[in-house]
Amino acid sequence: MIKIFTVCPQGLGSSLIAKINVQKALEKMGIEGEVETAGVTSITGQKFDLIVTVPEMQDSLERYKDKLVFVTNFFKRDEIADTLEKKFREMGLIE
């Protein structure tokens, strides 16, 4: 079970779109995961495997840099799936 946070400044609009599309991407890959939205501050102290976010958040999330995945288009499901798959492989979560 992979735990993923989608993070935007407010944890409300774009992170929700990201969550929906990350969930669809996981389904497509057949990977079991829990996806939740969050604002920058609300992930402090939480356990997770990955953060999916936008490039603008890079500085605020610097301390999690090994766990960050950036997307520039929250609506491109194929792109999100490819990016995640690459990251999962890098992290050794999938073969």
């Binding site: 400044p9 774009s14 491109k76």
Partner: protein, 149 residues
């Protein structure tokens, strides 16, 4: 809640003339204010978010979704959508220029998820933003939503 319950006909305008991104957000916000979906201060809050965090609200090529927290003056969950007569840049290198601006306000974290999920389905089609931008009426905008839902 369905997408069309969030995006009601009186919250849509086509071919809106604006000179820059800030005016584009204000115009989309004005529809929310006129519908009494938000207090006027909510519109300022949406602009402040962009100024503070950058143009991350340009979520896809040509498509921006400004929004602010419920505490900034949300009265009822709603989505307004305007198409621009001339596209404007938000300063997002990947996804500028913007042709369609959809302003979101949500009263809580739950009620709008279904509608946004439907919006995500609609926008998963690459051609949608272009089709919206070319639409000449509010009905046409809604027909495009129906077509891809």
């Amino acid at each position: 809640m369905l997408l069309t319950e969030l995006l009601r006909p009186n919250l849509i305008a086509v071919n809106v003339h604006v000179k820059d991104w800030e005016e584009a957000v204000r115009e989309a916000g004005r529809l929310l204010v006129e519908d009494e979906a938000v207090e006027p201060r909510f519109v300022d809050a949406m602009i402040e978010v962009v100024k503070e965090f950058g143009p991350y609200i340009v979520l896809a090529p040509g498509f921006a979704m400004p929004h602010a927290k419920a505490e900034a003056g949300c009265l009822k969950s709603s989505l307004s959508l305007i198409t621009l007569a001339e596209p404007v840049n938000f300063g997002n290198p990947e996804n500028d220029p913007v042709h369609v601006v959809a302003a979101l306000t949500a009263k809580d974290h739950g009620s709008h998820i279904e509608a946004l999920s439907q919006l995500a389905d609609v926008l998963a089609n690459d051609s949608v933003v272009g089709e919206w931008a070319a639409a000449k009426s509010v009905d046409e905008i809604l027909e495009i939503v129906e077509k891809y839902s």
